[in-house]
Symmetry: C2
Subunit: 531 residues, 2 copies
Amino acid sequence: MTPTRWLAAALSALAVACQAAPEPADTSLAGTDSTSNGSPVAGFEFTTDEAFDAATVPAYGGDHPDVYADIERNLDAHIGNLQRWTRQRSVSAQDDGIDQMAEMVRSDLAGMGFAEAELVPTDGHPGVWGYYDAGADKTLLVYMMYDVQPVNPEDWRSPPFEAHLVDTELGTVLMARGATNQKGPERAFLNAVSSILETTGTLPVNLMVAAEGEEEIGSVHYPQILDAYEDRLGEADGVLFPMNNQDPTGALQMSLGVKGIIYMELEAAGSERGGPTRSEIHGSYKAIVDAPAWRLVQALSTLTSEDGNTIRVPGYYDGIRPPTEEEQRLINGILPTWDDSAQQAILGVERWIAGIEGREAILRYLYEPTLNIDGMWSGYSGPGAKTILPHVATAKVDSRLPYGLSPEEQRRKIEDYLVEQGFPDVVVRSMEGYPAAQTSVENPLVQAAIGVFNKYGHTPTVMPRLAGSAPFYQFTERLGLPLVFTGLGHGAGAHAPNEYMVIRPKEGSGIAGLAEVEKGYVDLLYAIAGG
Amino acid sequence: MTPTRWLAAALSALAVACQAAPEPADTSLAGTDSTSNGSPVAGFEFTTDEAFDAATVPAYGGDHPDVYADIERNLDAHIGNLQRWTRQRSVSAQDDGIDQMAEMVRSDLAGMGFAEAELVPTDGHPGVWGYYDAGADKTLLVYMMYDVQPVNPEDWRSPPFEAHLVDTELGTVLMARGATNQKGPERAFLNAVSSILETTGTLPVNLMVAAEGEEEIGSVHYPQILDAYEDRLGEADGVLFPMNNQDPTGALQMSLGVKGIIYMELEAAGSERGGPTRSEIHGSYKAIVDAPAWRLVQALSTLTSEDGNTIRVPGYYDGIRPPTEEEQRLINGILPTWDDSAQQAILGVERWIAGIEGREAILRYLYEPTLNIDGMWSGYSGPGAKTILPHVATAKVDSRLPYGLSPEEQRRKIEDYLVEQGFPDVVVRSMEGYPAAQTSVENPLVQAAIGVFNKYGHTPTVMPRLAGSAPFYQFTERLGLPLVFTGLGHGAGAHAPNEYMVIRPKEGSGIAGLAEVEKGYVDLLYAIAGG
């Protein structure tokens, strides 16, 4: 693994695994600084020097040559399935093609022999539910998203909804919106399921599919989909989110959790307390008129230290669950290949905060709650000078929450603190929030995935979690299930032009082509079943 | 005068008058708080209870019936001149029609008999210089701007460069870009000059015209125009900037000065000190990457008190020249009709800062230096949630400077303070700056203007100054000349759609029509000449 692979994988992947999220192991460290504003994360001490090495997980030993042969024989049709899915527009933000795509997912499941294959009405875009009863001991819940990001077609070298096969330096790729995020790997998984069914007439595990069409707009109604099948979901043993997890060099990184998040808008506006209430006014009135922009600046400034890196909200760091011994082993395992400079070069950052490096950087990256200004705006931002006193000023602020922190409590701490500091006039508008999700590396689902990767020579690096966020708590916390978000294969361009998934990689690239990606999913299903 | 007229006049007018700006009369009050951060303005004490009343200035007694008759006889042609000027595009920001407009001004002056009428090259748009030697004792310098603001034609009820006469509730108006800002009153003034010349063959005063084509983009090169005629300008006795100074009710307010201004952009960006240097990065990196947006917020927050109304920069209030006795009389004169609530209603403001009212509000409005956020921006400001760590954050900040404060010194105080507070990484980009301008009400040029207004029954309210800014220091400070920026007439819509100047007002409206506006300028020239 090259140092730069770290980041590429961390940026492009989302990954969690089969067993309940670990209990907080030792919260005493988190409490050491409970009354001050300092973060305890840098002071988290390790109780083990052992390092996890994914190569020690036994490679999956099963072999399913008839199924592999079916995949090879039908590869053109399998590619056609990916093209069919990505040619169908399904831009959730623009309600473009959503119903047609939901029906395509439903009918594909029905056509493959899923006894249950139905649309799930929600207050937003419909979900899709599928169930294949293989009469097996184990049941796998497969999370899917069938929606995609909007496109600017003029930025694409190949039209985003024509799904052409394009030759690139990595080999032949499918270029289309949704090619890697997330229709490509999802349909590859269903191709694998289809080949097993064609070859053996059944599946090694029972499959539940719970797909949504609103992932790109915040998954607001996904809980309604789970609600509808709540009594059934208890039968599941774990959750899979199919994902192209290799970077362009073929390196594979898995992560076992995500941070939670709260996302807010803070806004100051003119009111009966003062300031312009209707619109901007001439800037010369600042002499006698209150300014919402100053109020926002002053309110925001109370939230952090002068360097912006320590959160001043009392108790904000209380309750962070320090790294378990198992997570310490994972961190010890990645430390030898962790290269601060290489990651900084990719990001265009000269140094981490306070000049930290190595294990301290990893710890803060993965365990520190953040308070981040995503955007702020007020008044005039064009060229030259315009002299106005704006009537409103707004900031978008998010806070990433490591395992152990509650979105509701953290939001309340911020709101209470602003009032206490004398800013009851600054409104905190809550936009979304959910807690972290975590799965143990010891969980059989994770072990099965690593075993399959090892079989194909793609031994993964395993991070305890991503610093990013996803609402996987619905599986890990609500349902108490382990989750893996991973798979062989490489794609890029999610949320960007020229999104692609590699179909036939250049020889020696180390990237799994579509056939190998599908064989990996075949093996994973058998590995989960224990065979 | 109705209470609301205060504001309409203060907002729409710019006004200064014949005699050097008054010397600082008593700076001891300004020094009482020189080491703290508090403003001394609220504590300025008055040494006189006398109140200025413009009605006590003798009405201009001259009469020029032959000239007035020439105006009436040629009114259609005079209107045609305003239309010709406003049909000629001259959008300085877009370099649209500038050269043609400059040539139109030049050739009009030449055609009227100005011995000197020439374009003045600058590093920007050309100026126009004109000189009419009447062999008179007195010489008046006339400042003109021939450029206009950009337009959005679709927002106009009559095309902005067709200059139609349009019937409105105020009467027949000329609707065009530049109708009131500033071609209308300027060409009305030249119509008046033309009628004097047609009737008498000469002028009562010598006239210098120094016009620029960059007023709407900051007058950056205007000093170059003055440079070119520096030795000549010493002959001038005062400066006139023709202006429609009546509000829609006919009320007329003059102001005798303007505040200065400094305009800056404060910017924090990723650098070798930390933070993303190339572009935004994923918001989850806040855990280990410095945030320019927080740095800007923290730096800005040091500049003011928590309510945003007291400037914390040491010494920022030092040197404000308190109201002279003459200015105290002006303030005492306007106080009886000053109506805080009415002005607040127009602005959409519920209260002034700290609940101040009356004389304290007037004092702070006119004598307080401001620090105002005109705009700020960073990162994402669209709908919904986007989680990024922006690489740059910027604020536009202006500071209005009352008489006595130097733009260079105030800027240096801000820059020094930011460094001292630990923000050397926050860049202060200076955009423009100039000092205040002030003319005395006792100056003969001001007295002449008031006398003419009284003759026509439009006794003005006289404010010591505007709270707004204009680079009139070039006349009052550099050349040591008094300046009046005033005139009869009403127009509105400067910098907005449907800009107009009233040509033939509805009867009883109290607004001077074009003929009366021109007669007022005729009388003003004779009054200045002392006849």
